[in-house]
Symmetry: C2
Subunit: 318 residues, 2 copies
């Protein structure tokens, strides 16, 4: 089969379509003929050598795909069935082997391209907002980077759950977009201190910044508040005041979806299909494609995402 | 009624039995005629002015009592019924008003003295080990200060749940006691580095030290590990490396039982009676009284606890 292989590990743009062995499936896996593969920020990091795949995962880049079952293995899927899948790697290819628990039906009415683009963000948002932080109706959530890929999706899911949503973003344009998606409180982090605006009010914070926002996040959290950090765009090390953590009974948590085990991923995938697919199907949550590229042009797709001018997901088509 | 009142706020030993108004009950409360009141480390802190009662709570010291219902208010309890109760304050007195959700039956076969001594430690251990950290059969838990009041109780509950138990303590004598109670891994923190011994192995850590152990605790935690900090004997401020928190998908949590709301306390009390009372009744968990003092001698009881030579709970009798 053909797959995107990074020819020069020092050159993140040296992504070339190359003939490689078709993967063979192990017990509990299915083989999928890939139709479309989503492009994520983590893929850029991996091409730069900053985000090596977890042990046992494919060296080929790509965390989410859609396609048809080529070999159903010992699963209940059928050959030819149209599916999407959450991967630990291997998506930028004609075929990929996936643990059966990470394979899901397409949301109704979704094309292969659109389905491939929504898997990773949907699983990330559902697992963190609900399965980890336990967000409930009537609670207040702060979503950092509300205008980003995770942010725009998380706003809509939080609103669908009946939460009050505050967001941070760096421009009026992004904040306007957040408002359109339903955000209730808009904070321009370049002009306002979100911790002052939201002092002791946030039941949940979805954080992609890390160290730089830790102190402010603790201040913004309400009693029994839950901070879930999924990105470290603002660094890793910071002073922690455990006095505040105890006094406000706070929970601080960090997660990454990709590193989780097969069992945990299967639970997340099942819950995401049960809860997010209906939101996509009836339009409570909207998700947009920014552009599609043929698989051979993966390097161009990476360059486009890197440029930062992207407002939806990029997808490679096979 | 008579209650212990601190005559001089600058003198923690000026605890004198004084005539005060009997509390009146509000909606949802019951009035209890106190028979015995447990003495906790937090009481010493309160007498020193370091641990002011939460808003609305009695100024009188005392977090746990047993006695008989004097006025059942709108509750299902009956006048004269023998009960124990978890308090936000007010225990060192002849009568105390308590939200009905914090009132519980005595464990079968327990005297008033013994029941009064077990409420706070049982609620603290069950809420943190199970309701917060989710400790399960087959998991490994590290209990800091295994020879202390919380520690000795937590070891037994964790063993009853089927967990593997590691402890830290500062002397061979205390570690021997931990072994007798069922601890599997004994670490003398004055001679060994627990983080080296337990690197990446702990699913749950029950921590009473805070800042001084934060780095080591992160190192000792396994993937998906949960650190629950309930005491800050080793200070409040320390560097946190969020890179480790994300990579290992850790949860860091701080709690205090006393500050929780009525609803949360009622849930904890109910779960404690359901789960811990049977362990006390069939002997899976043993709990010992160190000594009893008449209520008027509260100052002596505090002095004894302060001395550090105490191996069980101290109780005041009314
Ligand atoms: N742990 C996981 O499982 C997991 C899964 C998926 C993604 N992630 C992580 O989540 C993060 C977001 O991913 P994404 O796909 O949404 O990326 P994205 O589309 O590039 O969004 C990032 C957003 O961050 C905002 N931002 C930058 N600095 C900020 C600051 N100081 N305060 C508030 N917002 C700020 C940017 O908005 P402005 O232009 O307004 O600054 C941008 O919209 C990444 O770090 C990614 O690695 C983690
Ligand atoms: N948050 C809550 O809801 C809550 C509720 C109850 C209690 N607490 C807190 O929990 C803590 C323990 O309470 P307790 O009643 O069990 O007190 P305790 O009986 O005095 O026990 C404290 C133990 O800490 C040990 N210790 C001291 N330094 C240590 C170190 N560096 N490493 C490991 N162990 C160390 C001591 O053992 P060695 O002699 O061996 O050093 C002692 O056995 C207190 O801080 C208390 O305030 C919190």
């Amino acid at each position: 089969m053909k797959a995107i292989i990074q020819q020069d590990t020092d050159n993140p743009s040296s992504l070339e379509l190359t003939e490689v062995d078709t993967p063979t499936i192990k017990k509990g896996e299915v083989l999928i003929e890939v139709k479309a593969a989503g492009v994520n920020r983590a893929d850029l990091l991996q091409a730069k050598g900053h985000y090596p795949p977890p042990e046992g995962a494919s060296e080929v880049i790509g965390l989410e795909i859609s396609g048809v079952i080529a070999d159903a293995g010992d699963s209940d899927f059928e050959q030819g069935q149209e599916v999407a899948a959450l991967l630990a790697g291997g998506g930028y290819a004609e075929y990929v082997a996936v643990p059966k628990g990470q394979v899901m039906r397409l949301p109704e009415g979704f094309s292969f391209e659109h389905a491939a683009a929504v898997v990773e963000v949907a699983c990330t948002v559902w697992s963190n907002l609900v399965m980890e932080a336990g967000l409930k109706e009537g609670q207040t959530i702060l979503i950092h980077g509300g205008g980003g890929g995770i942010g725009t999706f998380a706003i809509q899911v939080a609103k669908a759950l009946g939460a009050k949503v505050a967001v941070t973003a760096g421009s009026k344009q992004k904040l306007d977009r957040c408002r359109e998606l339903g955000a209730d409180i808009l904070i321009n982090y370049k002009e306002q201190d979100f911790a002052e605006e939201l002092k002791n009010q946030c039941d949940v914070i979805l954080d992609i910044i890390g160290a730089k926002y830790l102190k402010q996040n603790l201040k913004a959290l309400a009693k029994d508040g839950h901070l879930v950090t999924i990105g470290l765009q603002g660094g890793t090390k910071e002073d922690l005041n455990l006095g505040i953590v105890l006094a406000k009974r706070l929970t601080l948590q960090g997660t990454t979806l990709r590193s989780r085990g097969t069992q945990a991923k299967a639970e997340i995938v099942a819950a995401t299909v049960d809860n997010i697919w209906p939101m996509l199907e009836d339009g409570r949550v909207k998700h947009s494609l920014h552009a599609t590229f043929p698989l051979a042009q993966a390097a161009d797709a990476h360059e486009t995402l890197e440029s930062g001018e992207v407002t939806g997901t990029l997808v490679l088509t096979v």
